[in-house]
Symmetry: C2
Subunit: 254 residues, 2 copies
């Protein structure tokens, strides 16, 4: 199978490496910045292009891995050639291809990639969507060459995945920022919290998070909650209250 990668960023870099390792022939890498295209292409013996007009026509699959707002531009700039075209975005609908491609889909690996660290794709969940069952099977097969965890997901499901990731990663990370503020006020370094955070995360592999919830809210320890709120600034106090209320409500229901 011959593949063309449109893009040379974090996702593209990791995918190109992994596809080549899995035996897929990556024949070309496009980037609007030629040195980026060349650098990535060189890692797998592909050719490089910084012109969408120069994208080869005879590959089996074209993987668009550019920023969300640049996907439609790529689809418009290159005429259809009957091959399968996919994008790798979690938040762009599959309909970005509608009317402009015959065979198209989504090939979304849900992970945070960086160029510096080669991702191990084996456990990265892939979410697949396509315009037809035949295309879905083809794209799914490609994903299975990289990962054990391949799912079909509609664009609506991908939107919900993104929301879940905002809670699970972006908001959890902000909780650590706020914890760091409180520690800083006490003259303590953030890293004193790392062992306890690791233990909390390790439990996720054993139990659903609701079942391992601990702390004053789930214990209904009103004295402790009040004493904590009294020590916080207005913003953190409001967050402490709304999250404690949510925990209390959630665990009353169970």
């Amino acid at each position: 199978m011959k593949a063309v990668m449109i893009g040379a960023g974090n996702v593209a870099t990791n995918l190109v490496r992994a596809l080549a390792t899995a035996g897929v022939e990556v024949v070309q890498v496009y980037s609007r910045t030629l040195p980026h295209a060349r650098e990535l292409a060189a890692t797998v013996g592909a050719c490089a292009s910084d012109s969408l007009d120069g994208v080869v026509r005879d590959a089996d699959i074209y993987i668009i891995s550019v920023s969300d707002d640049a996907i439609a531009g790529v689809v418009e700039a290159v005429p259809d050639n009957g091959a399968v075209w996919v994008h790798t975005s979690g938040s762009t609908s599959v309909t970005v291809f509608a009317g402009r491609r015959e065979r198209y889909g989504v090939f979304y690996p849900m992970q945070s990639f960086s160029k510096q660290i080669a991702a191990d794709f084996a456990d990265v969940p892939f979410f697949i969507e396509a315009e037809s069952e035949a295309t879905a099977v083809m794209v799914e097969g490609l994903a299975r060459q990289l990962s054990r965890r391949v799912f079909r997901a509609t664009s609506d499901q991908r939107r919900r995945l993104h929301i879940a990731a905002v809670f699970a990663c972006n908001f959890a990370n902000h909780m650590w920022t706020l914890a760091g503020d409180v520690l800083g006020e006490a003259g303590l370094p953030f890293d004193v919290m790392l062992p306890l955070i690791s233990t909390t995360v390790d439990k996720l592999k054993l139990l659903p998070p609701a079942e391992s919830q601990t702390g004053p809210a789930v214990r209904h320890d009103v004295n402790v909650m009040h004493s904590h709120i009294a020590m916080l600034d207005e913003e953190k106090a409001a967050i402490y209250k709304i999250l404690s209320d949510s925990i209390i409500k959630r665990h009353e229901q169970n």
Copy 2:
């Protein structure tokens, strides 16, 4: 050094094991439930007691590792013997000993312990407080036999540590519960999120959390935030808003 452990719960069980391994002679384990005292005492060849009157008088240090609301009762029930008395609680003030002991302090290992899994204490942060510098040095020395990370912390600092742990662990865990709800509505299992959560946590070891914050709020991506809020129930929408606002505010300041 001879130690007596008052308590046979999760913290006591892990401490007794670790102290014995470090060469401290644990001479007695007390629990109000005799089989619990016997079970733990047997692991290190100590004697067991279910009577506070039966606690031996000639140890060098007495470690009270019972529930927070039982600490004062233990202190009152046993007369002072001039040895060092400490408790292991993150949220009880050192003043619980005031007027009832000459030499006393706090010996708080900040980790979530379970009887089933033997904790590795090497990286567990210990927080030490005492009535005098001499006692602090003695208790600190004991902690250093178990861990590389020993801090002095006042009772006020320990209260702030506890608040930080509520944010970093209890609230982060609740974010995962809410993410699981959203995934469940999309028909997807929670564990699709584990690789992304692991990556987010791994970054904490490299960068302060504020510096690795990602997501629509830190990008000021108002369209994505509005579309997410529109898909959430009232409770999750309110949490999404307050946390996004907090992220925006935080990153404007920086």
